[in-house]
Subunit: 69 residues, 2 copies
Amino acid sequence: MVDLGLLVKNHRNRAGLTQLELANLAGIGKTTVFDIEKNKETVRWSNILAVLRVLNITVEFKSPLTDNK
Amino acid sequence: MVDLGLLVKNHRNRAGLTQLELANLAGIGKTTVFDIEKNKETVRWSNILAVLRVLNITVEFKSPLTDNK
DNA sequence: TTAAATTTACTGTTATAGCGGTAAAAAAAT
DNA sequence: ATTTTTTTACCGCTATAACAGTAAATTTAA
């Protein structure tokens, strides 16, 4: 799997946002942004999605059955 | 975004698993499997990952910045 | 080097996800 | 058509994620 925490951190930095600013934009608490960047997997899927939405990151699921190239 | 719930359901069926069996294999409760298939986004990321692992589904994050083809 | 900003870390409280149990509805098998 | 299996739905209870506050550590800027 990908290092989601690092991905978020990099995108956040390129967007010139602090963790607090990103949290506010995503409508979640700063602690959760921190947790996501630390790859804490117990966070809610909805909160991850909220962050990804702000940062223009999309998600794709793949499998041997899935043929989305 | 993708319909994760449907994706999980399809893969589960192709694997010949019931929701309960998948839940046991993933080490989570049956209710959570049900919730995931219903696209309830408040579930924990870790629980989604546990299900995807059993079903051999991987996750990819993409963005204009990310150039993973 | 100092000061300012940001990140990391902890804490107590609150909201709720996760859970097993149960039961009804729906689907599949006989 | 009837039984069996599976899915959907609802219920309390418990564990814990989410949160704001605070403070220390780290990074950045002046």
